[in-house]
């Protein structure tokens, strides 16, 4: 209890004010310090705005050219420098820190939007857009989702979208951009709140929030209209309040618990994995509290158990889709492992091999784990030495319960999972870092804190070095988590069956079919067409259709098409010109088919696509050059 109270006193330490800064610098008067701080913040704001402008210029320059690269990195760099200048300015207060972090969040959102301003490209957000449209049309969450039903089983994001649309009257196209902006700007602020709750001073929490923004998911993934982004935001909020429940200030427990309960229910409705991780983290907090303050009760365990009950209840309530999805996900992971063992998977991964990034970017990407490891090690050392010392001398833990818990669900779990990026489960590992990085950020900050509070003659250099290192870390995260559709808008695509293939001609074809033939026909196509025709055409699409495509025999393909009861077949001619983005044209299971030549780095043969014109019951009813749609009359004419 004593050490816990000591930690609380440390927490209660006031943030440095302008007066405090003035005292530390006797030569400078208070007014001069204040003036200097204001000028620094104005300069930081100007640099931030210049960063926004440079990012805009990067997306008006010829795509992929050296000018675009230079402008892109200059823009992001200016945004970061402007933010840091505001954050470390003389007399900076919490509202300055938060405004700067929110502005950086906006700056880091811009590339995702400017990549394709007309509509989102990533399939994870397209699923939610379809779900939102259907909920709007049907007025219920129980809607006939045609491609990815799990999006409707966890409708938190869509419910927020509905609220914004209903209240503001804005269109769906606008709302699916506004909500990600709000989430992207709010995430660093809530991380900052959570870090201050652990006892960090305002200026140090600002540093920690920057480190948190360097998690793999933040830059691009959490700038999309995805339930995982909202899940990560709510997770940070519940952890921030959970930290407060580890402190022995019982007066605030009721209100804090109530907010945490409401947030817990919302997170369960929003995202399955975020809900599960939240429960795990709350249990860790409860265990740390028990270990640290034995003999006293905290609502943490009750809170975790309540969330667990709600999580299981929701899983059962939505069992029709959730069980199938989670089971399918498990099978998918096993399949990936099989593919790895068979040496039969060639999907590119940007870290360590098959990287398409320029050499300097690869170098920074290599630095990313090294820097993270270095910062974590510093933090663990700074916190670990006193803990060991106190344990040896008096068998007590000289660390607060919150920090103890965040050491586990932070640096220690990060260290345990980091090697996983070398395996086929890399995406799962990367995505888990959104939840682990709060602890990583906390310990990174604790590690460099002596340098941040340094007031010696070398303090400016030390501060610049420390923030420079975080800038590199953030740069590494930007490179590693780049937009899957490619960083810039290009005049020609580079791969097929991926997000960059959601081009206007495909969207137009899907909309045409939805308008002319109506909704909910069974349409088959490659991986991209399946999503595109589901979202923009509201058609039922499925996976596992590769046998129709991997043959030159029109009769055999017709039999397959009729067996699958395909009403329409779409052909993307780009499949014969480019290798697939994710290593498969149709389905991740297609490596099981020996006819597939993708693993050998070969294109889908043009004859396989040309045969559709010879299939006996197909009628070519739409052609825009790259996208061709066939109507299958075999189902009615053959009498099936």
């Amino acid at each position: 209890v004593a050490s816990s109270v000591a930690t609380t006193q440390e927490i209660a330490a006031p943030a440095p004010t302008s007066q405090a800064v003035a005292v530390s610098s006797p030569v400078e008067s208070t007014e001069a310090a204040l003036r200097r701080g204001i000028i620094q913040r104005i300069a930081g704001s100007v640099v931030l705005l210049i960063g926004f402008g440079l990012l805009g210029q990067a997306y008006t320059s010829p795509a992929g050219g050296p000018a675009a690269y230079a402008l892109y990195w200059s823009g992001l760099g200016a945004c970061f420098v402007g933010t840091v200048v505001i954050g470390i300015s003389r007399g900076a207060r919490p509202h300055h820190h938060m405004a700067a972090l929110a502005a950086l969040g906006l700056g880091m959102y811009l590339p995702s939007y400017l990549r394709n301003p007309a509509y989102p490209l990533f399939q994870d957000e397209l699923f939610h857009i379809q779900t939102l449209q259907l909920m709007l049309d049907y007025g219920t969450t129980h809607v006939p989702i045609t491609n990815f039903p799990i999006a409707g089983a966890y409708p938190g994001l869509e419910l927020v979208g509905l609220a914004v649309m209903s209240a503001s009257g804005l269109s769906l196209d606008v709302v699916v951009r506004i909500i990600p902006i709000a989430i992207h700007m709010a995430i660093p602020l809530v991380a900052y709140f959570a870090l201050t709750s652990t006892g960090l001073r305002s200026a140090h929490a600002f540093f920690g929030a920057l480190v948190y923004m360097a998690n793999w998911g933040y830059y691009w993934f959490h700038s999309t209209f995805s339930y995982e982004s909202l899940g990560a935001l709510l997770f940070l909020m519940i952890v921030g309040f959970g930290v407060r429940l580890t402190q022995p200030n019982r007066r605030a427990w009721v209100a804090t618990t109530l907010v945490a309960l409401l947030t817990g229910v919302a997170i369960v409705i929003t995202h399955h994995i975020s809900g599960a991780i939240t429960i795990g983290v709350l249990l860790t907090f409860a265990a740390a509290f028990k270990l640290k303050v034995s003999g006293r009760r905290s609502p943490l365990l009750d809170l975790a158990l309540f969330c667990l009950v709600v999580w299981i209840g929701w899983l059962v309530y939505q069992a029709g889709t959730t069980i199938l999805y989670l089971g399918g996900n498990f099978v998918d992971r096993i399949t990936n492992l099989l593919a790895l063992f068979q040496g039969n998977s060639n999907s590119t991964r940007s870290l360590f091999w098959n990287s398409a990034s320029p050499l300097p970017e690869q170098f920074v990407a290599y630095l990313y784990p090294v820097i993270a490891l270095m910062l974590i090690s510093l933090g663990l050392y700074q916190q670990g030495v006193p803990v060991l010392r106190s344990w040896r001398s008096s068998r007590t833990l000289d660390i607060s319960a919150a920090r103890l818990a965040l050491a586990v669900v932070g640096p220690l779990l990060w260290l345990a999972t980091a090697p996983g990026v070398l395996t086929r489960t890399a995406d799962v590992v990367y995505r888990s870092w959104s939840f682990l990085f709060l602890g990583v950020a906390l310990f990174a900050t604790l590690g460099v804190r002596p340098w941040l509070i340094d007031r010696s003659r070398w303090s400016t250099l030390r501060t610049a070095t420390v923030y420079g290192v975080v800038g590199l870390l953030l740069g590494g995260a930007v490179i590693l988590s780049g937009n899957q559709a490619g960083r810039f808008r290009t005049t020609e695509v580079h791969s097929s069956a991926g997000p960059e293939d959601f081009t206007e001609d495909m969207v137009s074809a899907a909309r045409w079919l939805g308008t002319d033939a109506g909704r909910f026909h069974f349409v088959i196509g490659d991986a991209t067409s399946a999503v595109g025709f589901a979202v923009w055409g509201m058609q039922k699409t499925n996976q596992g259709v590769w046998p129709i495509y991997y043959t030159t025999d029109p009769q055999l393909a017709q039999t397959y098409a009729n067996d699958m009861r395909a009403e329409y077949i779409t052909v993307d001619m780009r499949d014969a010109r480019y290798l697939p983005r994710y290593g498969f044209y149709f389905d991740s299971f297609e490596f099981l088919d020996l006819r597939r030549a993708v693993s050998l780095g070969q294109l889908l043969p043009l004859e396989d696509l040309a045969k559709f014109d010879q299939m006996p019951a197909l009628r070519r009813i739409y052609d825009n050059g790259d996208i061709v749609v066939y109507q299958n009359s075999g189902l009615t004419e053959v009498g099936q």
């Binding site: 007014e31 001069a32 204040l34 204001i38 000028i39 104005i42 100007v46 705005l49 210049i50 402008g53 440079l54 805009g56 990067a58 919490p94 938060m98 939007y113 400017l114 394709n116 007025g139 969450t141 938190g156 419910l159 927020v160 509905l162 609220a163 914004v164 649309m165 209903s166 209240a167 503001s168 009257g169 804005l170 506004i178 602020l189 809530v190 900052y192 709510l234 909020m237 007066r251 605030a252 109530l258 907010v259 947030t263 919302a266 206007e504 001609d505 137009s508 045409w512 079919l513 033939a517 329409y568 006996p616 009628r619 009813i621 052609d623 825009n624 790259d626 109507q631 009359s633 004419e637």
Partner: protein, 263 residues
């Protein structure tokens, strides 16, 4: 939390904006800036703000409360949406908006009731705006910020103008390629090339051109519909409709009508 006049003004303004948003939604003011701004505040800020203000008269600073208001509003919107979904009215937009507003107002009232327990000082300090800077510095700073803001805005607006992929689409109307009694078939040619185009359209049956339209001039974004000749009832091959770019002999786009079997 001690109520200050500035805070009361700010909260009053928020409530007013939320009310305007609610009225705009219920009275269906379309494209009204008042509804857009008020509605965005009502959905994304005020419910969470009121919730945190009601629950934490102290314990959260104003800055923390403002920062957490957005995620807390998400929480309120999710819970209200999930509850409304279970009612016979379903996900009614009006009901969701009305509940968001009621939630905001009632929580704000709770917040004020709890705040009044704390002694409210009769004298209210209003900090005077005093900048320790000369007028010249202030003017230069404002000009710099304004200039960079205008430049950044212009740059982002320019970058937001997407250049779509150019294409021409030829489609069978009604997504049906088979003739129904009394309803002749037609095809539509869409020019999405981003520039004016000239096309020739030809209908081939059994390898012979049975109909041809030359010099179809379409501006970008325009379309042209062509009614097809009626096919004979015993026709087993159907017909191909081919679009050519004017002056070219290579088929540019092609669709098929009539019975499916093709050569």
């Amino acid at each position: 939390m001690i109520l200050t006049r500035r805070q009361m003004f700010a909260d009053g303004a928020l409530l007013l904006a939320a009310t305007a948003g609610m009225l705009g939604a219920l009275l269906a003011w379309t494209d009204s800036p008042v509804r857009i701004v008020g509605g965005l505040l009502l959905a994304l800020f005020t419910p969470g703000y009121a919730l945190l203000k009601a629950l934490f008269p102290r314990g959260l600073t104003a800055v923390e409360r403002n920062a957490l208001s957005v995620p807390a509003s998400f929480v309120v919107a999710i819970l209200i949406g999930a509850a409304v979904d279970q009612t016979p009215y379903g996900l009614s937009g009006s009901l969701i908006v009305a509940l968001l507003w009621m939630c905001t107002v009632s929580l704000m009232m709770v917040a004020y009731a709890r705040s009044l327990r704390n002694r409210m000082p009769r004298t209210i300090q209003i900090s005077r705006l005093s900048l320790p800077m000369g007028v010249g510095t202030v003017v230069v700073s404002l000009l710099l910020v304004e200039a960079s803001l205008i430049w950044a805005g212009a740059s982002l607006v320019e970058a937001s103008l997407s250049t779509p992929k150019a294409f021409t689409a030829l489609s069978v109307d009604g997504a049906r390629g088979v003739q129904q009694s009394g309803v002749p078939l037609s095809v539509t040619l869409d020019n999405e090339e981003g520039q004016p185009m000239r096309y020739d359209l030809e209908v081939d049956a059994g390898g012979t051109a049975v109909s041809r339209v030359e010099g179809v001039q379409l501006t970008s974004g325009a379309h042209y519909s062509m009614q097809l000749p009626v096919l004979a009832d015993d026709d087993t091959a159907g017909a191909d409709v081919i679009a050519y770019r004017a002056g070219e002999t290579t088929p540019y786009r092609q669709v098929h009508v009539g019975p499916a079997a093709q050569s």
